[in-house]
């Protein structure tokens, strides 16, 4: 019997898990994929929003500013890639300039710090590669970029270090309400808990549906993203937003934490909750729009593309709270700015749990820190030399494109990577120019050795994502 079971290991589930790990509780996080962060989290734009985009009345509007403020400390404790690069919303005509004034006023009301209106001269000085037709900009220094998957990995690692249990590859099949708690049946086991937190992202309505609840629906909204060649690194310094029109914040230019420029996302509602395909039309939309803001960005520069689904709800806002089923709490509809809001959501949920009678007694000892994984490529020659002296595996380069060493691969595996993608997102091995052409088989060997599995049992990202056939050619 657990006090709390969290369904879903995206950033929201992981942030809640870490928050709950501070207390004398037994908590389990149940994830259907092979690793945490493999759903919407992994395919997120990776933006920590300043908070002036969403209205004051909405729950997301209230949680985003608070969430943003929490990231400096979180970064210190957890060591994920995060940089406050600032964002600018660019105006394309006179009418847009009026909207910028409104955004500034709204932002200030919400407590967003440092907002500044820039005229064209200032804009040109700060971002000389943007189109000369732009008419002005609103600058928000507190916005930043983050590696969202590193955030999720470090949150869950910290939570696990502090006693939270993690179950992966356990898709939830049914949930029943009994007199003494809720019983969750996964493909592998039965789990009983007093409280169940529904953090299932695009599948949150399905989870609620298992208990006969139908008070909200999720309408996945797909966003396609395009990563551009290293040659374009530095073309913009800030996150570039257009003046928002319609449901999404528009198509952006994102100088990611690792330096790669990413453009996107699109916003298209889809039926299929597994539809994360990119499309020719999506690419056209993204590049037509982005090149109007920054003319030197061209589709030819694409090195990788992917898509993710926003867990948008029918209300358009976050749906966080109790339900008609005792102990079952929704943390649903967490669309943008959900990543930014996630640590604030965790506190908000904790408060609900307290009100619902969960006894929250802080542990005497709680370790907020995790050791960030080594990043050999980012070290100076002296530091590299020192690393090699301490551990010979640093002298063995596995991924030559991103300069990732055997020592980093081993660290990733010992910190929970179980799949090729898990290693890739923790180390960047396979993210470079050759996209894993040279290093994949070596990483598969390392994973197989660690897990005591055969080479063929290693998958790209769990389930049916097999890489080679089980039968060797000798069979």
């Amino acid at each position: 019997m657990y006090d709390v079971a969290i369904i879903g290991g995206g950033v929201v589930g992981c942030a809640i898990a870490r928050e709950l790990s501070k207390y004398q509780l037994s908590t389990v996080l149940i994830e259907k994929e092979a690793e945490v962060g493999f759903g919407t989290t992994k395919t997120n734009s990776g933006i920590i929003h300043a908070g002036h985009h969403s209205s004051l009345e909405s729950l997301k509007g209230q949680l985003v500013v608070k969430g943003n403020e929490m990231f400096d400390e979180l970064q210190k404790e957890l060591g994920f890639g995060f940089r406050r690069c600032g964002e600018i919303v660019v105006a394309r005509d006179e009418e847009d300039l009026k909207t910028l004034d409104e955004l500034k006023e709204l932002g200030e009301k919400k407590g967003v710090k440092g907002l500044e209106l820039w005229d064209t001269d200032r804009l040109r000085r700060e971002e000389p590669n943007l189109s000369i037709s732009l008419t002005g900009a609103l600058y928000a220094p507190t916005a930043g970029v983050i590696n969202p998957y590193e955030f999720a990995f470090s949150l869950i690692e910290c939570a696990q270090n502090n006693g939270i249990e993690l179950l992966v590859e356990n898709p939830v099949q049914s949930i029943t309400s009994t007199d003494d708690g809720l019983v969750i049946s996964t493909s592998q086991k039965k789990i009983k808990a007093s409280f169940v937190l529904n953090c299932a992202g695009v599948f949150a309505d399905d989870m609620a549906g298992l208990l006969g609840l139908s008070d909200f629906t999720i309408h996945p909204r797909k966003g396609e993203e395009y990563m551009l060649d290293k040659g374009l690194e530095g073309i913009v310094k800030h996150l570039i937003f257009p003046v928002p029109k319609g449901v999404s914040k528009g198509t952006l230019i994102i100088p990611t934490y690792d330096g790669t420029i990413m453009v996107g996302p699109t916003a298209d509602e889809v039926e299929d909750k597994y539809n994360v395909s990119t499309t020719e039309e999506g690419a056209k939309k993204v590049f037509d729009f982005v090149s109007s803001m920054c003319p030197s960005i061209h589709p030819r520069s694409t090195i990788a593309e992917f898509a993710g689904l926003r867990a948008a709800s029918n209300t358009g806002d976050f749906i966080i709270g109790t339900t008609d089923v005792n102990g079952f709490i929704n943390v649903a509809g967490i669309q943008s700015p959900g990543l930014t809001a996630s640590p604030a959501i965790a506190l908000y949920v904790l408060n609900i749990l307290g009100k619902q009678g969960l006894e929250l007694i802080q542990k005497d000892e709680w370790d907020p820190y995790v050791t960030p994984p080594p990043r050999f490529a980012q070290l100076s020659p002296e530091e590299r030399s020192q690393c090699c002296k301490e551990n010979k595996d640093f002298g063995n380069v596995v991924c030559r494109c991103e300069l990732v060493t055997e020592a980093e691969i081993q660290t990733a595996i010992s910190h929970g990577a179980r799949t090729l993608d898990g290693v890739k997102f923790r180390t960047r091995a396979g993210m470079g120019r050759c996209q894993g052409g040279f290093c994949s088989s070596r990483i598969m060997e390392a994973l197989a050795e660690d897990q005591g599995k055969e080479f063929y049992e290693i998958t790209k990202r769990g389930k049916a994502s097999w890489i080679v056939c089980p039968e060797g050619k000798e069979d």
């Binding site: 020659p381 380069v397 097999w466 890489i467």
Partner: protein, 428 residues
Amino acid sequence: MLGRMNKSYDCVIIGGGPAGMAAAMGAMDTGVSDILVVERDPEPGGILRQCIHSGFGLHYFKEELTGPEYAERFLEKMIDNDVDVVSNSYVSGISIDSDGSKQVRILHPKAGLSSIRCKSVVLAMGCRERTRGAIRIPGSRPAGVLSAGLAQKFVNMNGYLPGKKIAILGSGDIGLIMARRLVLEGCEVVGVFEMMPYSNGLTRNVVQCLDDFNIPLHLSTTVARVHGRDRVSHITVAPVDEKFNIIKEKAWDVDCDTLLLSVGLIPENELSEKIGVALDVITSGPRVSSSMETTMSGVFACGNVLHVHDLVDFVTEEALSAGRYAGEYARGTRRPADSIELVPGQNVRYCVPHTLSPEREHTVYMRATQRMQPCLLRVGNLLEKKLRFVVPAEMINLKIKPDLLDKFRGEHLTIDLIPLDDDKKMEA
């Protein structure tokens, strides 16, 4: 000696594939014996190690060898001549001291980070395959989309099949070789799809790997979309018009669990760029003189890092020559600067080397921009030669003798390939 690494060398060769090994032999020919070959894989041999098919060595050894056999011949010679070879090693940078000597920074599992001093350097890092991202195929991103070279590694080195029902995009040589290989291993190869109106591989490979096995080659056709959630379930293919736009109305679905990509090779010049060697935008390799010397004095280049070759035999020839010049350089010989610049003219995509010197014999390697049958190869007003058949996939080698250049007084020498409209005459 395998595994030995001293503090200084006459010549350091970066890359232990066919180019690096031949460069070591070239350097030995000049009397230099103090040579280090740095290899990033666990063993030298490069991509030859996984090319277990035959067809190597027909030009150079005048016999047909497998990839590992071809590599073995050079490896034995290196070991016999006491060339030092370090494996699992990565070169992180090269700097040049004020006296012209080079410091090569090497990362090695046992030695850690070391700096090796040498007189000359040969860049022989080879190339990598173009990826799905670079050619932008829309659709989902399941497991089962991989480069033909990685599939070759899985099959020939790891002993596993990448799938059962295989589609191949692109008709590069590795893709063609893998089509045959996978059929022989019991897979079904449903087809090879090539966007260009001609194959990008050698004619002999189209015949021996596809035609002989009844594998369909669909020209002017490309993959429009990848389907499948966790693993590839099928692909949508479609013909393209003359501007390579997909003709959606004529698209069809092909069942498969694997999509191999053989869509081109890219010289791996990240190190060259880092140290400031000037690159040619067409070849993506260094600009080199007739001594195979890059724009940095004492730094030479050869093999696929310089430009992508279709036969290893030509890599060997080129690398032997680069190695000889690197050896000479280490012994103090300096060649005068070349006086003639080679200019790729009509229908010529590129020429390597980029400059010539009138006092020596040169081999010029070049590629055509289109298929021509027959055509006239014209070198300025010095030489005209009729070629029966020219395709972009097959490199053209041209020997230029000093007596030819004797008469030449200009600074720019243009090479053209002019299509001839006399098929009938040729056949007669």
